[in-house]
Subunit: 335 residues, 2 copies
Amino acid sequence: MTLHDLAKELNLSIATISRALSRPEDVAPLTRQRVLAAVHRHGYTPNGTTRSLRTQQTRTIGVVVSDIRNAFFAAVVKAIEDEARANGYTVLICNADEDSAKEEAALQLLLDRKVSGVINCSTGANLDLLHTFQKSGAVLVDFDRESGLKNLDTVVVDNRRGAELATEHLVDLGHRDIATVAGPQHLSNARGRLIGFQDTLRKHNIQVKKSFVQYGNFRQESGYQAAQKLHSLRQPPTALFVANVEMAAGVIAFVRDKGVTIPQEISIVSFDDSFWARYMDPPLTVVAQPVETMGKCTMELLLARLRGGKPAQTKVFMPELIVRRSTCSPARSPR
Amino acid sequence: MTLHDLAKELNLSIATISRALSRPEDVAPLTRQRVLAAVHRHGYTPNGTTRSLRTQQTRTIGVVVSDIRNAFFAAVVKAIEDEARANGYTVLICNADEDSAKEEAALQLLLDRKVSGVINCSTGANLDLLHTFQKSGAVLVDFDRESGLKNLDTVVVDNRRGAELATEHLVDLGHRDIATVAGPQHLSNARGRLIGFQDTLRKHNIQVKKSFVQYGNFRQESGYQAAQKLHSLRQPPTALFVANVEMAAGVIAFVRDKGVTIPQEISIVSFDDSFWARYMDPPLTVVAQPVETMGKCTMELLLARLRGGKPAQTKVFMPELIVRRSTCSPARSPR
DNA sequence: TTGTAAGCGTTATCAA
DNA sequence: TTGATAACGCTTACAA
């Protein structure tokens, strides 16, 4: 069913039908009614794809998210979509699975669909594709990680500050043997979290042992493996800062397998909160990001940019330490 | 940058450019090279939206999901997207937030985008819109809930069986005062879970008290409230079957607030597993659905349908009871 | 091997 | 108030 069919049926021109639907006031009331009735009768819906061709704007925003199963991104996606829909935009969600090849495929898809803008949780690869976007006139926003490109809006949490908050908390409790499970260092957020951790230790004149820095990939299993390595050390840490909550779950799985008690034998603080962190055993001490606010802000920035004017800005949100029960002072050390 | 621009630059016709890209073998090697070079130089990407107009197929599948922040749906979406992309299809994800008005908006959007197919986690409302889809020739699949429409593929878990498994488990442990936090009864899955619960009790000659059936909306807070009501009863239950894990979290929040211990004072078994259920305090006994398999199967069914042939089928997956530590035999009752 | 031209379903301009 | 028509960017007969 197209405008054409409708026109034939009603003995009107397609122009009139189109007008009856998009600018009702430009059409005679009676005509409008006839059109509306027919539209309803047939369940006709204009082809939005075609409209885009004609109007040269898709009103679609692409979102490339690192891992849709990660609660953090799921929440962000929801916030983004709500804000977009409220403004008449559609969101095309792509899952990159923290994999630069999948990211490339996703960006290619968005390029193909001629999206008006892209919110990207960049792996740091695919800079050329991002560049192509910019050249094509699409608006780009970096979210959660910085791609390294210039002249684009950026929404991130203060990763260094978050790591400081977490590490400072552990130091305050009296820990000196503090390790970290860091994220992959090609990601700007993971780098920030590691630097914040190291700086805080140095500030307190605590040596940063190389063996106390383990690297994961932000996934659960890598947390498990990191914990394993840390555990096998001659002198294991008494406290642990984990760069995200998925890896923290992995750490906890390992620790539990070994029968080590949290927090008595090992204190754990993790980056990222999620609704279930407080139901865990024990409830997890975390550094929380203002997820909803960040998601909303990202879309607002993007829309503002689309409307023109505003130069690119970087918004840095403050994380917050939420102390629950996975951290406590270390047991008296024998040394 | 369009075919036209490229054609002008290379002194070729747009047809040749188009061919060089879509059927390389139909074009002289040298010409092809020149075209490819120019394409690369300009970062040109064909307009997929326009191609759809011409070829009359969008190769896009819409997915209307009840709540993207729910781990179950996040996992499903990932499985669906992977399978779709592997087959050259794009997925348009819409979040209905368990709200029929949002569902309507989502369906309308998908109608507008002329998607080839829709995977719908129906609220049960919007039957007329779904009907419009069918009339338009799009392929529909019901997932997780049945819309009530005929002649469409359906992928669900055996909800009754799952509830039986859970309830049977509680009965086996010796419980007689068993309550449930049921889901909203306009959803077929929630109905199935309630029926399975009731039937199992009856089978064991246990009376199903009306006050022992509380209704929630599949969200956390409603679990909290239901627990509150159950707790205020003159004779509260010793065991609880909760219809999904989000509500279970709410129940646990309440129970913990009250200082009631799980499982000693109250046993809890929930529908749905999620990776963190085993890290909870205590680890949650659940009825798990084979999420990835179900997601993949849904897309396979849809694609098969799109390729024609196959009549509509209903796939019912078997849930599995995973006993962890939130259930145990009831304490000796004083009565 | 390449070019010409029609047509996909809209919107928008101009005339009637 | 309505209609005829061009244009959006692409694919694909068909012709050269």
